[in-house]
Protein backbone atom coordinates (compact mmCIF):
# COMPACT_ATOMS: atom_id res chain seq x y z
CA UNK A 1 0.00 0.00 0.00
CA UNK A 2 1.98 2.93 -1.36
CA UNK A 3 0.60 6.02 0.39
CA UNK A 4 3.13 8.35 -1.25
CA UNK A 5 3.80 7.83 -4.92
CA UNK A 6 6.46 9.26 -7.18
CA UNK A 7 5.46 7.86 -10.54
CA UNK A 8 8.49 9.04 -12.49
CA UNK A 9 11.56 6.98 -11.62
CA UNK A 10 13.77 9.39 -13.54
CA UNK A 11 13.85 12.85 -15.10
CA UNK A 12 16.44 14.46 -17.34
CA UNK A 13 16.64 18.22 -17.95
CA UNK A 14 19.08 20.70 -19.44
CA UNK A 15 21.07 23.04 -17.25
CA UNK A 16 19.25 26.34 -16.77
CA UNK A 17 15.82 24.90 -17.48
CA UNK A 18 13.09 24.11 -14.98
CA UNK A 19 12.90 20.72 -13.26
CA UNK A 20 9.47 19.62 -12.06
CA UNK A 21 9.23 16.62 -9.78
CA UNK A 22 5.81 15.26 -8.91
CA UNK A 23 4.36 13.42 -5.96
CA UNK A 24 0.89 12.03 -5.21
CA UNK A 25 -0.49 10.84 -1.90
CA UNK A 26 -3.53 8.85 -0.88
CA UNK A 27 -3.77 9.36 2.89
CA UNK A 28 -6.05 12.35 3.59
CA UNK A 29 -4.60 12.58 7.12
CA UNK A 30 -1.26 13.79 5.77
CA UNK A 31 -0.84 17.46 6.62
CA UNK A 32 2.87 18.11 6.25
CA UNK A 33 5.05 17.41 3.26
CA UNK A 34 8.79 17.50 2.72
CA UNK A 35 11.27 17.06 -0.09
CA UNK A 36 14.67 15.50 0.47
CA UNK A 37 17.61 15.18 -1.90
CA UNK A 38 19.94 12.20 -1.73
CA UNK A 39 23.36 11.75 -3.27
CA UNK A 40 24.91 8.26 -3.46
CA UNK A 41 26.60 7.16 -0.23
CA UNK A 42 25.00 10.03 1.71
CA UNK A 43 21.88 10.37 3.81
CA UNK A 44 18.86 12.35 2.59
CA UNK A 45 19.28 16.12 2.86
CA UNK A 46 16.25 18.25 3.73
CA UNK A 47 15.30 20.70 0.97
CA UNK A 48 11.94 22.29 1.62
CA UNK A 49 8.64 21.60 3.33
CA UNK A 50 5.04 22.75 3.19
CA UNK A 51 2.15 22.60 5.58
CA UNK A 52 -1.32 21.72 4.34
CA UNK A 53 -2.55 25.20 5.29
CA UNK A 54 -0.45 26.61 2.44
CA UNK A 55 -0.42 25.94 -1.27
CA UNK A 56 3.07 27.24 -2.03
CA UNK A 57 6.42 27.59 -0.30
CA UNK A 58 9.53 29.05 -1.83
CA UNK A 59 13.19 28.89 -0.86
CA UNK A 60 15.66 30.24 -3.36
CA UNK A 61 15.60 28.12 -6.50
CA UNK A 62 13.19 25.62 -4.93
CA UNK A 63 9.42 25.99 -4.82
CA UNK A 64 6.94 23.42 -3.60
CA UNK A 65 3.30 23.53 -4.66
CA UNK A 66 0.53 21.67 -2.88
CA UNK A 67 -2.88 20.85 -4.39
CA UNK A 68 -4.85 19.33 -1.53
CA UNK A 69 -7.96 18.55 -3.54
CA UNK A 70 -5.89 16.53 -6.00
CA UNK A 71 -3.62 15.14 -3.26
CA UNK A 72 -0.68 16.23 -5.36
CA UNK A 73 2.49 18.17 -4.75
CA UNK A 74 5.34 19.19 -6.95
CA UNK A 75 8.85 20.52 -6.53
CA UNK A 76 10.09 23.11 -9.02
CA UNK A 77 13.80 23.82 -9.38
CA UNK A 78 14.64 26.94 -11.37
CA UNK A 79 17.19 27.22 -12.84
CA UNK A 80 18.41 23.63 -12.72
CA UNK A 81 22.13 23.09 -12.15
CA UNK A 82 24.32 20.00 -12.70
CA UNK A 83 24.87 19.83 -8.93
CA UNK A 84 21.13 19.24 -8.52
CA UNK A 85 21.57 15.77 -10.04
CA UNK A 86 20.45 13.39 -7.29
CA UNK A 87 17.52 11.26 -6.15
CA UNK A 88 14.65 13.35 -4.82
CA UNK A 89 12.28 11.92 -2.25
CA UNK A 90 8.85 13.21 -1.39
CA UNK A 91 7.78 12.52 2.21
CA UNK A 92 4.57 13.09 4.13
CA UNK A 93 3.38 12.98 7.70
CA UNK A 94 0.19 13.26 9.73
CA UNK A 95 1.32 15.74 12.34
CA UNK A 96 -2.04 16.13 14.02
CA UNK A 97 -2.16 12.41 14.68
CA UNK A 98 1.40 12.28 16.00
CA UNK A 99 1.03 14.44 19.04
CA UNK A 100 1.83 17.53 17.03
CA UNK A 101 5.49 16.93 16.42
CA UNK A 102 8.21 14.49 15.61
CA UNK A 103 5.93 12.58 13.32
CA UNK A 104 6.96 9.52 11.34
CA UNK A 105 7.68 10.20 7.69
CA UNK A 106 6.22 8.17 4.83
CA UNK A 107 8.41 8.33 1.74
CA UNK A 108 7.90 7.82 -1.97
CA UNK A 109 10.32 5.67 -3.96
CA UNK A 110 12.19 8.67 -5.30
CA UNK A 111 12.91 10.28 -8.66
CA UNK A 112 16.41 10.36 -10.12
CA UNK A 113 17.02 13.84 -11.53
CA UNK A 114 19.83 14.29 -14.04
CA UNK A 115 20.74 17.82 -15.06
CA UNK A 116 22.82 17.85 -18.20
CA UNK A 117 25.38 20.63 -18.81
Amino acid sequence: DQQVKQNSPSLSVQEGRISILNCDYTNSMFDYFLWYKKYPAEGPTFLISISSIKDKNEDGRFTVFLNKSAKHLSLHIVPSQPGDSAVYFCAASARKNSGGSNYKLTFGKGTLLTVNP
Binding site: T45, A91, S101, N102, K104, L105, G108
Partner: protein, 117 residues
Protein backbone atom coordinates in the same frame (compact mmCIF):
# COMPACT_ATOMS: atom_id res chain seq x y z
CA UNK B 1 28.24 21.95 14.50
CA UNK B 2 28.31 18.20 13.93
CA UNK B 3 25.40 16.75 12.09
CA UNK B 4 23.91 13.31 12.60
CA UNK B 5 26.60 10.63 12.73
CA UNK B 6 26.22 6.88 12.34
CA UNK B 7 28.53 3.93 12.82
CA UNK B 8 29.68 1.73 11.32
CA UNK B 9 29.55 2.81 7.69
CA UNK B 10 29.35 -0.69 6.33
CA UNK B 11 28.69 -4.05 7.93
CA UNK B 12 28.58 -7.62 6.65
CA UNK B 13 26.82 -10.32 8.66
CA UNK B 14 25.52 -13.82 8.04
CA UNK B 15 21.98 -15.07 8.48
CA UNK B 16 20.97 -15.67 12.06
CA UNK B 17 23.49 -13.26 13.52
CA UNK B 18 22.70 -10.14 15.50
CA UNK B 19 23.77 -6.58 14.69
CA UNK B 20 23.91 -3.25 16.54
CA UNK B 21 23.97 0.07 14.72
CA UNK B 22 24.70 3.38 16.41
CA UNK B 23 23.56 6.95 15.94
CA UNK B 24 24.49 10.29 17.48
CA UNK B 25 21.94 13.04 16.88
CA UNK B 26 22.60 16.56 15.72
CA UNK B 27 23.59 18.90 18.53
CA UNK B 28 20.50 20.19 20.33
CA UNK B 29 18.23 17.40 19.12
CA UNK B 30 16.49 15.04 21.53
CA UNK B 31 14.56 12.66 19.27
CA UNK B 32 15.94 9.88 17.10
CA UNK B 33 14.08 8.00 14.37
CA UNK B 34 15.32 4.96 12.46
CA UNK B 35 14.50 4.12 8.86
CA UNK B 36 15.30 1.18 6.58
CA UNK B 37 15.95 1.87 2.91
CA UNK B 38 15.97 -1.18 0.64
CA UNK B 39 17.44 -0.93 -2.83
CA UNK B 40 15.22 1.08 -5.16
CA UNK B 41 12.81 2.02 -2.38
CA UNK B 42 12.22 5.04 -0.21
CA UNK B 43 13.12 4.95 3.48
CA UNK B 44 10.65 3.07 5.69
CA UNK B 45 10.02 4.11 9.28
CA UNK B 46 11.15 1.57 11.88
CA UNK B 47 10.67 3.41 15.20
CA UNK B 48 11.30 6.64 17.08
CA UNK B 49 12.84 7.30 20.48
CA UNK B 50 12.35 10.24 22.79
CA UNK B 51 13.24 10.48 26.48
CA UNK B 52 14.72 7.00 26.25
CA UNK B 53 11.39 5.45 25.28
CA UNK B 54 10.05 4.07 22.02
CA UNK B 55 7.29 6.51 21.03
CA UNK B 56 6.18 5.30 17.62
CA UNK B 57 6.76 2.10 15.68
CA UNK B 58 6.35 1.13 12.05
CA UNK B 59 5.51 -2.30 10.61
CA UNK B 60 8.66 -4.09 11.64
CA UNK B 61 8.90 -7.35 13.63
CA UNK B 62 10.12 -7.57 17.20
CA UNK B 63 13.52 -8.66 15.90
CA UNK B 64 14.08 -4.94 15.49
CA UNK B 65 14.63 -3.20 18.80
CA UNK B 66 16.28 -0.04 19.94
CA UNK B 67 17.53 2.03 22.77
CA UNK B 68 18.12 5.67 23.52
CA UNK B 69 20.71 6.83 26.03
CA UNK B 70 20.62 9.84 28.37
CA UNK B 71 22.88 11.77 25.95
CA UNK B 72 20.18 11.23 23.24
CA UNK B 73 22.31 8.84 21.17
CA UNK B 74 20.60 5.68 20.02
CA UNK B 75 21.17 2.09 18.98
CA UNK B 76 19.26 -0.12 16.60
CA UNK B 77 19.49 -3.86 17.22
CA UNK B 78 18.40 -6.52 14.78
CA UNK B 79 18.31 -10.16 15.90
CA UNK B 80 18.17 -13.35 13.83
CA UNK B 81 19.21 -11.58 10.66
CA UNK B 82 17.51 -12.52 7.40
CA UNK B 83 18.73 -11.95 3.86
CA UNK B 84 15.90 -9.44 3.46
CA UNK B 85 17.37 -7.26 6.21
CA UNK B 86 20.10 -6.18 3.80
CA UNK B 87 19.53 -2.45 3.39
CA UNK B 88 20.73 1.03 4.19
CA UNK B 89 19.76 1.94 7.75
CA UNK B 90 19.22 5.63 8.29
CA UNK B 91 19.04 7.53 11.52
CA UNK B 92 17.27 10.90 11.67
CA UNK B 93 17.25 13.37 14.53
CA UNK B 94 14.88 16.18 15.42
CA UNK B 95 13.93 18.33 18.36
CA UNK B 96 10.67 17.69 20.14
CA UNK B 97 11.44 20.53 22.55
CA UNK B 98 11.71 23.02 19.70
CA UNK B 99 8.91 21.55 17.60
CA UNK B 100 6.82 23.96 15.65
CA UNK B 101 7.41 26.40 12.79
CA UNK B 102 9.42 23.82 10.95
CA UNK B 103 12.01 23.30 13.64
CA UNK B 104 10.98 19.67 14.01
CA UNK B 105 12.32 18.75 10.58
CA UNK B 106 14.15 15.44 10.63
CA UNK B 107 17.83 15.51 9.66
CA UNK B 108 19.42 12.32 8.41
CA UNK B 109 22.80 10.75 8.95
CA UNK B 110 24.82 9.10 6.16
CA UNK B 111 23.47 5.64 6.99
CA UNK B 112 24.90 2.20 7.69
CA UNK B 113 24.96 -0.23 4.79
CA UNK B 114 24.14 -3.71 6.15
CA UNK B 115 24.72 -6.76 3.99
CA UNK B 116 23.42 -10.13 5.18
CA UNK B 117 24.94 -13.18 3.48
Amino acid sequence: DAGVTQSPTHLIKTRGQQVTLRCSPKSGHDTVSWYQQALGQGPQFIFQYYEEEERQRGNFPDRFSGHQFPNYSSELNVNALLLGDSALYLCASSSRRLAGDGTDTQYFGPGTRLTVL
